[in-house]
């Protein structure tokens, strides 16, 4: 049952990445056409716009969700590639532990970074 569950979450993470990465592309690369979330100037990478987005709770939330989705999606795919190399049962268990702990560690670090950036922006 675990593979059915992991595969379903893999698809869900892919859908989340599609939406949030699409949002990123619209904001950062279609700014001339769309021009959303750029309150200070027309250029999305101007300091004033970066700070404005960092202050917004929605963006902090979206960064964390995108990070979680990308980590799960990528690490699950990487796990599948490693498992196709035919490791033994013990090595499979070890890989599961390493990838899970590695993913959780990266997620915790990224979440802290996104949260700290928002907190710093709010002091400016």
């Amino acid at each position: 049952m675990r593979d059915q569950r992991l595969w379903t979450w893999h698809l869900a993470a892919g859908a989340i990445i599609l939406v949030l990465l699409g949002l990123h592309m619209i904001i950062m690369h279609l700014d001339v056409l769309v021009g959303i979330f750029n309150p200070g100037s027309p250029h999305p990478t101007d300091w004033v716009n970066v700070v404005a987005r960092a202050k917004a709770g929605f963006f902090t939330f979206s960064y964390i969700v995108l990070l979680g989705a990308a980590l799960f999606h990528g690490l699950y795919g990487f796990r599948n590639i490693l498992f196709e190399l035919g490791p033994g049962a013990e090595l499979k268990k070890a890989l599961n532990v390493v990838l899970t702990l590695g993913g959780l560690g990266l997620f915790a670090f990224g979440t802290w970074a996104a949260w700290a950036a928002g907190a710093l922006a709010r002091t400016l």
Binding site: D3, Q4, L6, W7, L11, G86
Partner: protein, 273 residues
Amino acid sequence: MTTPDTVTYRLRRYDPASGQPPAWEDITIPVTPGMTVLDGLKVIKETASPTLAWRSSCRMGVCGSCGMFINGRPQLACNTQIKELGTPVVTVAPLPNFRIIRDLVPDLRPMFDAHAALMPHIIRDDMTEVFEPTGEFLQTPEELEHFLQFTYCIKCGCCMSACPTMATDPAYSGPMPLAQAHRYNADSRDGGFGSRRRVLATEKGPWKCHYAGECSQVCPKGVDPARAIQLMKRQLVFDYLKLFKHPCPSKVAPKPTEIKRREGVPEAPAPTL
């Protein structure tokens, strides 16, 4: 295309009793129009190499015994004409992704074990009706279309030998068993999805399929196992999300009572089993 009068068979030979690793052997034989790769093997056995071993039976692409790796492609030897290959050398090896028993004979037991583990038969609550039928299970032509093409599978193993995942992952069930599991999951007379899910939801299930599609490309019967695997994935994802409505197995149609036999039509013989 020129039609050569002779063709050279490059055969993969292996005899486990000899203790030698597999090796190639070249044998040249005359070719006649319409001659199949299987016919050529028989000529070789009769005239040049009586110890050559392979598996074959029906000679008409029905039994699925003579699956071989012919010119780098899994094909049925009885269904492949030498002149259609268009090469002066015909390379014949046992199907890849299987252990070799001898010469061109692969060990298909892992495939049939995986096939049996997925319960490729009708499963219902009323199994007495299956073994001692009182009528026919109702099924519309539309319901039949959901699984009909997958019933054409002859279990030759060509799809298994073309599958890139099978080449590396021994846990993967493979295209044939998975397509046959879907064949029954999609059958409106069947109620065994829950039983098969116990295997399908694990690493033996369809999750490792990369959708390379080679299984469907090489199938000699035109079955599309890659499609079956993708449909099965969708079914299992919907099942996990509680969005899959488990269909009730179709009901039994009572035997008609008011129909009279036409004159001259004899009674069916008594069942022998």
